[in-house]
């Protein structure tokens, strides 16, 4: 190709590049991030994003705007795999982030090791939220399968919180005298017979219980239950602490393929790192999540009930738990298909 032809083609290519670039990304002084999160973290990230923007502006002079997407954790993971351009994901469980790594190939498989505490900057657990006065006398998991009890929980196929609910219930059943997988499965079948509505996410389930007035007990994230009491008032609902629950560890990570394309790795990494800062941990605690920072945790310890907790390790990790309970051949599908 002649030099003249190359120059002409290059000039036109430059037009394309400039015009295309102008329609992309950001001006030099500002950046946007997309945080794809699970359902109940809306209030947390309203507070956190404002604090991080102030911090980042002070540190770098750059304006950062964080857009949020919320929904059932599994559903959100699926959306990211299908192309939702998340710079970061802050999901309900490590298993959903693992799916993004293995199926979507958007993050490396060793993503958990990149941030402290296996990339879980805070924890939570599962408690019962009941009507004020606990008219149905619900004290523990065994009461949930009594006739006439309405149990509200989201769908474990779409909601990370629902998976923690499911595993906590299963753990209780295993801990009963003579408890084994068969008795646990039988218990879960009776439990889900008492579930009238399956929302896709935890916030939807809270709406069903609190605002629609459906059911007698909500299996809730601890932070969601405490928030409901704060917003509705202690005269409307109250928390019942079951005898056993599960340590829920929501996980966060930068989505490498997206930040590489968008050039936002530095700010996205800083965004997640800031969750571990003193201010980040304060915001976490003020929103009723259990902070990792020992000092902050001690400061807020009275707001959290004392619980006997199992962990995901007791289920062989998320890979095993997903395969055993939440896959197409898992126990959840088996018990709901039989109904």
């Amino acid at each position: 190709m002649s030099l003249r032809k190359w120059l002409g083609t290059a000039a036109l290519a430059a037009v394309i590049a400039v015009a295309g670039w102008q329609s992309q990304a950001h001006a030099a002084g500002s950046v946007t991030l997309l945080n794809v999160s699970y359902d109940p973290t809306r209030e947390l990230y309203v507070d956190y994003n404002a604090a991080f923007a102030k911090y980042w502006k002070g540190k770098t002079g750059q304006d950062v705007k964080v857009n949020q997407s919320h929904g059932g954790s599994g559903k959100q993971a699926r959306s990211v795999i299908d192309g939702l351009p998340a710079d970061v994901v802050t999901l309900a469980l490590a298993g959903d982030v693992d799916q993004i790594a293995t199926q979507g190939k958007l993050v490396p498989v060793n993503w958990e090791s990149r941030l402290p505490n296996n990339s879980a900057p805070y924890t939570s657990t599962i408690v019962f939220l009941v009507r004020k006065g606990n008219p149905k006398g619900i004290k523990d998991w065994g009461d949930l399968i009594k006739p006439g009890i309405g149990v509200i929980t989201p769908n474990p196929r779409t909601s990370g919180g629902a998976r923690w609910n499911y595993l906590a219930a299963w753990a209780w059943a295993l801990h009963q005298p003579g408890g084994n997988d068969a008795t646990a499965k039988a218990y879960m079948a009776k439990l889900f017979k008492n579930v009238p509505v399956l929302d896709t996410g935890a916030r939807g389930a809270t709406t069903t219980f609190v605002q629609r007035g459906i059911g007698d007990v909500l299996l809730a994230w601890e932070n969601e239950a405490l928030l409901a009491i704060k917003e509705l008032g202690p005269d409307k609902v109250q928390v019942v602490v079951p005898s056993i629950s599960i340590l829920a560890e929501p996980s966060v990570t930068v989505v490498d393929k997206v930040v590489l394309r968008r050039g936002t790795r530095e700010v996205a990494t800083a965004y997640l790192n800031y969750l571990y800062s003193k201010e980040g941990q304060e915001i976490i605690a003020r929103n009723y999540y259990r902070p990792r920072d020992p000092q902050i945790a001690t400061k807020y310890e009275n707001q959290y009930p004392k619980l006997n907790l199992v962990t995901i390790k007791d289920f062989g990790g998320w890979a095993n738990a997903t395969k055993t309970h939440f896959s197409d051949q898992g126990t959840f599908v088996q018990i709901t298909t039989q109904q």
Partner: protein, 473 residues
Amino acid sequence: MRFPLGLAGAAMALIPLSAALAQDAPPAAADAAALLQRLDEAEQRIKVLERKLELQDEATTTAATSAPVVRAQPNRWAIQSADGASFVRLRGVLHVDGRHFEGDGSPATSNTWLLRRVRPIVEGTFANYYDFRFTPDFGGGKAIVQDAYVTARFKPWAQVTVGKFKVPLGLERIQSANDTRFVERAFPTSLVPNRDIGVQLAGNLAGGKLNYNVSYTNGVSDGSSSDSNASPDVDNDAKGDVSARVFFQPFLASDNFALRGLGFGVGGTYVDSTGSSTNTLLPSYRTPGQATFFSYRSATAGTNATFADGERLRWSPQFYYYYSSFGLLGEYAVVSQDVRRVNGVVNRSDTLDNKAWQLQLTWLLTGEEESFTGVTPAANFAIGKPGRGAWELVARVHELSIDDAAFAGGADSFANPLTAARRARAAAIGLNWYLNPNVKWSVDYELTRFDGGAATGDRPDEKAYLTRIGLAF
């Protein structure tokens, strides 16, 4: 103390009654409690049903934002994304032609049915701004790529196209093959490029009143596409053609409807390139019946073919005017070509100006509006129904004349006057029947007369009956 008998008796009678009354009160309360419980349960069931409906609506709304839309309509077979930003459309063109010749001008063996165009077309848009089209063509017993391009529509006035596309110069060439009013295009199209590979910047300004384009392509000889190059679909001369065209429709939005249909413009191409005796970069010209009536001398001994050597400048002023059921289209094309021929010790060069023009009249007998693009019948034709489709009468005159200098020089001429005509003049009349927006039947009669091009006298007239059944969607 002794009670009076009546009082005692009354007291005795009251005992079972009070006992009986005591037994009735609890069941009424129990019934009320049971009723309340049933009411509570019913209320819960209603709330559950309402919530399930709510969740169902949410799921439907969510699905609608991601579910693709499939359209199957006469002029649009497409799959579109839920947000409308992207779609892929399947189109097609099938032209089945018939050619019949009378007289001595063309041998009977030229009579034929043929598949003139067989084009499945895939086109669409991605992310609102990026259009594409892919058009293979299997007509004429070949398989070639007619169009393969991407256009980035950054702004209406700045659209960049890369790939293989029509070089926008000739007016009738620009017109879609589905919309041309005759079976074959007129002579000016023979002098302008068809499809070529390169890059183009184009756009509309002033609310569409001004259309411009500038392109830089590999370069093709007159009337041809890059797949016809000696080395198909690549640059054959290491030099690119620069093309530019502007077209005005100054009264597009005028209140004077009589002027709205006026459009005029001018365009041109330029290259400075050198061919060779084995790759001449020079064209041949064909009649409306697709018979070659002019070629430059090809190599007969050694390397004595005429070849392009130097500048080739084309330019073409053009216009159309449409008003009501009438249309008028005209264009003029000139190609000024530097040529050379080395025949033994004789080495001759010259600049040849070949010219063509046409004037075309169209009249929609059934009263529809004429336009540069297709015709939509007011009432489609269907057997047993009153609609008759749209009927159109068309007529044209056109001419192509070769520079006399091409034939000067005797045996050293650039073209052989005994086989190559100096001029072709044609007149045609035709009838188009648009059965519906997708199916069209055309019948033309075209008489072409020649100056020169025969061993003695002039090449015999070509009297061609051309017909086409065209399907396009």
